[in-house]
């Protein structure tokens, strides 16, 4: 085996190991006075782990379970006015700062939310209480259902027109279509989607605390924050981080193994017009109900955020030059983070493809996706602390602060980039590998002529999502000194901690709008970049 041919993945893995492993190791070496046995036998931790697993499992099943019919409705109704916009808005919840989203959710579904107010006035049903497990699940579905829809929709786009025509001639019913055509295509997208959403829910922090109603609702991530911040025990925090990583790694592996992905078949014509059940009135009504209901469920809290923003002191906030400086900085971080993540994802995917096609190691795809997704299980606070110690030990200039934030954000964006790029790249390889070999299409030429046109759209989507995600994330920004160079989410947080909730609402609106813009711009420009 020529190892030198595997350099892109090697470099990507080295990068991940260096950043994640290096920073964890730095913390452990600096503060090595923690006892693994003592940490492992802590009954408090046991109950925290139990709760974390339980809520993550429920949230994942609920989010993906509900996303399947919604995604199917969108796939079946491939042409209606506003579809493109609605699908794009699906990317919004996951990129919003948690505190903004939570306030939006509460405005609609809270004690004093629109729905409960309506219930009180009309007396149709007693008011409901969202605080507790139900609140956690509601918020997690709000964040992850749309994400799941976006991650699953390509499964339908992969189905060749010929399959629909064949189904048409065979007279397949809607459920048979699902069983014989849609499900096989879904199996190559479901494991990754489940893993990503499970990890997001597992590591959820502020949502769980705020809507969980009490300390029963504590995730491992909360315990890590507490250990690091109030107990100041970095070594213990790192141990907890490793426990979380090990748990997530095991569960993610089990999910990937259990749901074996089938190879994707690709047709020349990707269209659903020949789908037998897309015209039937019953299904059109059913799809319309699903699309409207999911749009309302997600859209109402977002609308509440917009309304709150519009009621605030708009001029005062948007005329403030500091706001635009912060926006500029956040954009810079987002761009850097998303480029870095895309490069690492590309490296991993390229090498996974080589391993699959040339070295006959079909499990390489799963492993690459697994490794790339696990960065979600790494607590940013611990990585941030490790990186901070690095900076301290190597006397690097202070200006690396924003760079480090971008680095941590890149880890957060990587799974999305990898999930979007890897399957398409590997699939393209399956079709064209021998042809490329024969024509001597290699390296840069092959990338430019063959691979880039294939992954252009997935990369654009991942970059858009990643850019918006990184743009709206406060992440570790607060860990470093950002007083001289604050980012937009930090500014939002500052305003809230200074009672300026009305200004914060406007800032949130600006942030949400720019997130949409970032997503749209990256998605559009890259997606249309000529081959």
């Amino acid at each position: 085996m020529r190892l030198s041919a595997l350099w892109p993945g090697g470099f990507a893995v080295f990068f991940l190991v260096a950043v994640v492993g290096g920073s964890l190791l730095t913390v452990v070496l600096q503060f090595r006075d923690s006892n693994l046995v003592e940490v492992l036998s802590d009954t408090y931790l046991h109950s925290v782990i139990r709760f974390t697993l339980w809520q993550a499992m429920l949230s994942t099943l609920l989010s993906v379970g509900l996303a399947l019919p919604v995604a199917r409705a969108y796939a079946r109704q491939s042409h209606f006015f506003g579809r493109h916009t609605l699908v794009m808005l699906m990317g919004l919840p996951v990129v919003m700062p948690v505190i903004v989203a939570v306030l939006g959710i509460v405005s609609i579904y809270g004690h004093n939310g629109v729905i409960n107010q309506l219930l009180r006035v009309t007396g149709v049903a007693p008011a409901f209480n969202i605080y507790g497990l139900s609140g956690i699940l509601l918020a997690h579905v709000f964040f992850n259902l749309p994400l799941a829809v976006r991650l699953l929709l390509p499964a339908w786009e992969q189905i060749p027109g010929e399959s629909w025509r064949l189904a048409n001639t065979l007279g397949m019913s809607s459920s048979q279509l699902f069983r014989f055509i849609e499900w096989p295509s879904l199996t190559s997208f479901l494991p990754g989607t489940l893993v990503i959403i499970f990890l997001l829910c597992f590591t959820s922090f502020a949502v769980v605390l705020t809507l969980g109603g009490g300390p029963n609702a504590t995730t491992v991530e909360v315990a890590i924050y507490q250990t690091l911040r109030f107990d100041f025990d970095p070594a213990r925090a790192t141990l907890l981080a490793l426990i979380q990583l090990a748990l997530c790694a095991t569960i993610a592996l089990a999910m990937i193994r259990w749901l074996r992905a089938l190879p994707i078949s690709q047709g020349l014509q990707l269209q659903t017009k020949d789908r037998p059940d897309c015209q039937a009135l019953t299904y059109r009504i059913q799809d319309a109900v699903l699309i409207v209901a999911s749009t309302l469920f997600i859209g109402l809290p977002i609308a509440a955020i917009v309304v709150a923003g519009l009621q605030g002191p708009i001029l005062g906030v948007i005329l403030d030059p500091v706001l635009w400086q912060a926006t500029g900085r956040s954009l810079g971080i987002a761009l850097l983070a998303t480029s870095l993540a895309s490069l690492v994802a590309l490296g991993l995917a390229m090498t996974a493809r080589r391993l699959v096609l040339e070295y006959r190691k079909p499990q390489a795809t799963d492993i690459a996706l697994w490794v790339g997704s696990l960065t979600l299980a790494v607590p940013p606070m611990v990585i941030g602390t490790g990186l901070f110690l690095w900076v301290l030990m190597t006397d690097m200039p202070q200006m690396t602060t924003l760079l480090l934030i971008a680095l941590v954000n890149a880890l957060m964006v990587l799974p999305y980039a990898l999930r979007s790029i890897a399957p398409v790249l590997i699939n393209s390889g399956r079709h064209y590998h021998r042809l490329c070999q024969q024509l001597g299409l290699e390296g840069w030429m092959r990338f430019r002529l063959i691979d880039w046109p294939a992954i252009r759209r997935p990369v654009a989507f991942a970059a858009g999502l990643g850019g918006a995600l990184s743009f709206g994330d406060m992440g570790v920004a607060a860990l470093f000194d950002t007083s001289g160079a604050i980012t937009l989410p930090v500014m939002l947080y500052y305003r809230m901690s200074a009672y300026r909730f009305d200004e914060a609402a406007v800032t949130a609106l600006v942030l949400v709008l720019i997130s949409v813009l970032v997503f749209w711009l990256l998605n559009r420009t890259l997606g249309r970049w000529p081959s």
């Binding site: 009490g214 029963n216 007083s483 500052y494």
Partner: protein, 336 residues
């Protein structure tokens, strides 16, 4: 490492990522503090301007998330810290800060200053203080409870939003307050209160945000919160419930570091914090009570009846030693 240096080089070429570099020539005083202190609405910018007018120095604030982050940073950096002064620890954290051995006595004769609170600590200078209190919405809650006892034991009492003592300063403040009032019966008190706790949030901002959205008529905050609404929003709707047992006090302090290369300048700054100039800035920017009785007195928005008659506080060393155990008791009580 080489890789990171290369990245750093890359950052230098991206103008958007470059931070302004400090001017040399004059001595620099680096002050670590919490973020909201240096935000454009906080006292930081005004204090910096006033201090630099006379000190012939460059005052540089480094803003971190909160008091906890401040202490973490100090512990992470140890003797390598760039800080000359640390500003913004509260009395729940001073015990641990002292343990780092990084602090130097301030050598300021506090006796000559007309302090509003008794203080004799040799390391820490108190620059302002406040009391934790429950802020309520007078439109939905006309008659708030008059004591912590009443809040805890009145089954039909108002529902409240509090913060988590594991992740926030006010949350820890309430924990200590309850402990002070109910002593070893604290667990029973928490269990009695539990049904009326709507939720426990990560930090003050989440709790106060939910309260303003009307999710509960009462929220754990500071006794000075209504002053903000009166002064800035001309709004009298939000009031603080004064409790007969007294309120738990939070004193915010500053200290200089033994590693500082500018010990004299650091001391000047600490003394400056107690000057009338700074003390008059603090109430309406940091929304806390000034620790010095200045000639000017408090702004109109601050009301005498909102200053508790009785002050409750634990010794900071006791907090340091007992905190973990008390939090476990709290967890058990609320997990029932």
């Amino acid at each position: 490492m080489i890789f990171l240096r290369k990245l750093a080089g890359l950052a230098a070429s991206l103008p958007i990522l470059v931070l302004p570099t400090a001017q040399a020539a004059v001595p620099q005083l680096t002050v670590y503090t919490y973020a909201s202190f240096v935000s454009e609405w906080g006292p930081g910018p005004l204090i910096e301007q006033a201090f630099e007018k006379h000190c012939n120095c460059d005052l540089k604030f480094v803003g971190l998330e909160d008091g906890g982050a401040l202490l973490s940073r100090l512990k992470l950096e140890g003797k390598r810290t760039a800080a000359d002064v640390i500003l913004g620890l509260d009395t729940a954290l001073t015990g641990e800060a002292e343990q780092t051995g990084l602090l130097q006595e301030h050598n300021i004769t506090l006796g000559s200053i007309n302090l509003a609170l008794p203080w004799s600590d040799l390391l820490f200078v108190p620059y302002d203080f406040g009391y934790f209190g429950f802020v309520y919405d007078s439109e939905t809650l006309p008659t708030p409870p008059g004591s912590l006892e009443e809040l805890v034991h009145d089954r039909d009492g108002p529902r409240i939003i509090i913060q988590d003592p594991r992740t926030s300063t006010p949350g820890l403040g309430l924990l200590l307050w309850m402990r002070k009032v109910f002593g070893t019966d604290d667990q029973a008190a928490w269990t009695a209160l539990a049904p009326r706790i709507v939720t426990v949030t990560k930090g003050w901002s989440e709790a106060y945000g939910l309260f303003l959205k009307g999710e509960a008529p009462m929220v754990l905050s500071y006794t000075t919160s209504p002053a903000y609404h009166r002064q800035v929003e001309q709004n009298n709707r939000y009031q603080v419930a004064m409790f007969s047992e007294g309120h738990y006090r939070q004193v915010e302090v500053a200290a200089r570091l033994s590693t500082s290369s500018e010990p004299q300048l650091a001391q000047n700054f600490l003394r400056f914090l107690l000057s009338d100039t700074v003390q008059n800035i603090l109430p309406t920017t940091n929304w806390m009570l000034p620790s010095v009785r200045t000639g000017q007195g408090l702004p109109d928005a601050f009301r005498d009846e909102e200053v508790p008659e009785r002050m409750l506080q634990f010794d900071s060393l006791e907090v340091r030693d007992q905190r973990k155990q008390w939090i476990s008791r709290w967890l058990i009580a609320l997990s029932r």
